[in-house]
């Protein structure tokens, strides 16, 4: 006798331990197998794009801190690069190097959170997460030294950075650079050889390279699919063309590759950091800027390789003190486009780790 069955619809979120904020997935299950999934967004929409149209260019920098709060420095950087492109501002050498240092520290910190949260989604009961926090804490200490903040830094300025680094910063950073590779090895050893993790992550949630490009995926998600595309090398900004670093790419684009790419990127970031510290020139840290910047009429698109993908700012100026249009190309929102393709046919537990492996931050998705 055939039992009468019907699919059940479960709203995962907006309040759920592993949706990384207030995200909702409307999932249709057949037993435990997913037959349909629809992301529902907007629980954290604050209208930042509209807000920014009423503030001056400098006043908008703190707003960018509130996008992806796990990567505030890189948000700052993307925005000030766009404004500098719009207004044609030259940035002092030292400031460029400081920006690179901060951006790479931020990338390590963001990837630590991504990997930790991903393993937490795998069910590793907080332990890897808290180990990652131990290292993230050191990065936050470094940021606190330079700008007094631990979460919303507001450090970059149009034309440079807000402060020069204090004396104790460089020794602390050198110490961090020296010990970080050991910690990355520790995590990799602990986790990459774990049979359960391999069984859970290998071959799960495959995003083929073609689909990844077509759905405009970016960052580690794109590179895990085997596409060697990193804006730091494809379209170098700041002083990235002076550093020697590799772009790790995955092979099949499954959950494990995304995890692996993040681990490898942390190693490359440490490499960039050590080169940037060696090359750090002395001098000014901020170009002299007018109190109220009035860029010429026009438009500019500034983009960087953020920890979560290509973060871009599209600015339109009408020669007033505030941007006429302020658009954010949010990498995490666009990476979510492929979520349905990756999850359908997998089980509930897989959906959670596939979602975790995209590494989104809802404050940036909803803006």
């Amino acid at each position: 006798m055939a039992l009468k069955t019907e699919p059940i619809v479960v709203n995962i979120g907006p309040q759920h331990p592993s949706t990384h904020g207030v995200f909702r997935m409307r999932v249709t299950f057949d037993g435990e197998v997913i037959v349909d999934l629809e992301p529902c967004l907007g629980y954290l929409h604050r209208g930042i794009e509209k807000l920014a149209e009423t503030r001056t260019y400098t006043q908008n920098i703190p707003l960018t801190d509130r996008l992806d709060y796990l990567a505030s420095m890189t948000n700052n950087l993307a925005y000030v690069l766009a404004v500098e492109k719009l207004a044609g501002v030259a940035v002092p050498e030292r400031a460029e190097h400081l920006r690179v240092i901060m951006a790479e520290l931020m990338r390590i910190s963001s990837h630590l959170m991504a990997v930790g949260a991903f393993l937490n989604d795998c069910g590793a009961f907080m332990t890897p997460f808290l180990y990652m926090f131990r290292e993230r804490e050191k990065i936050l200490d470094l940021f606190e030294m330079v700008c007094g903040q631990r979460l919303t830094y507001n450090y970059m300025r149009i034309g440079g950075v807000s402060h020069d680094i204090p004396d104790e910063f460089l020794p602390a950073l050198r110490r961090f650079i020296a010990e970080m590779p050991g910690f990355i090895d520790e995590y990799d050893q602990l986790l990459a050889s774990n049979e359960i993790l391999l069984a859970r992550a290998k071959g799960v949630g495959i995003l083929p390279a073609k689909l990844a490009i077509n759905t405009s995926a970016s960052g580690p998600v794109l590179r895990a699919s085997g596409v060697k595309w990193d804006i730091r090398q494809a379209d170098p900004y700041s002083v990235y063309d002076r550093f020697d670093f590799g772009i790790p790419t995955g092979e099949v684009g499954d959950v494990y590759d995304r995890y692996w790419v993040r681990i490898q990127e942390m190693r490359q970031s440490v490499r960039i950091l050590s080169q940037a510290v060696e090359q750090l020139p002395s001098g000014e840290v901020c170009a002299s800027m007018p109190c109220l910047l009035r860029p010429p009429v026009g438009e500019a698109y500034g983009h960087i390789e953020g920890p979560k993908g290509e973060l871009g700012f599209y600015l339109v100026s009408d020669n007033s003190i505030a941007p006429y249009r302020f658009h954010i190309r949010a990498p995490t929102l666009i990476n979510l486009t492929a979520l349905r393709d990756m999850t359908v046919g997998w089980k509930l537990a897989d959906a959670i780790i596939i979602f975790g492996s995209i590494d989104i931050c809802l404050a940036e998705v909803d803006r």
């Binding site: 077509n214 595309w229 379209d235 698109y301 983009h303 871009g312 599209y314 339109v316 249009r325 658009h327």
Partner: protein, 146 residues
Amino acid sequence: MTTLLCGHEVAKQITDFLPDAVAVGDGTSVIIKGERLLPVAQFLQNTPGLDFDYLVSITGVDYAGYFEVVYHLTSIKHNHGLILKTRCYSRENPALPSVTSVWRGADFQEREIYDLMGISFSGHPNLRRIFLWEGFPGYPLRRDYL
């Protein structure tokens, strides 16, 4: 370094393919007539030498008189970029064809523009508001919304 293709040259190539598609081609961008957007998008994606396989971002800008929708395109193969623009002049019912069938990455971004700017994209598989709830009055990113 991603080279930004010159608008004039791309405009010429598009005109060869579709004579009435290009409105203006200037130094940095190509402005396309709205109703010809879809064939032009397919042309840009599939033509060897252009190969714009990656849609970076879509932005809507409200220039009071008209809406401009900006497509930033990149070719990962050749590492070059293009800024494609299109305009719609209706304020009550602005509509454009959707490019989701060409670049699926447009999905959420077109929904976002529909939600916040009020431009509807015909042919979009799931055109509903993405951030705000159904029935929200007005479109916040328009300049006249206060």
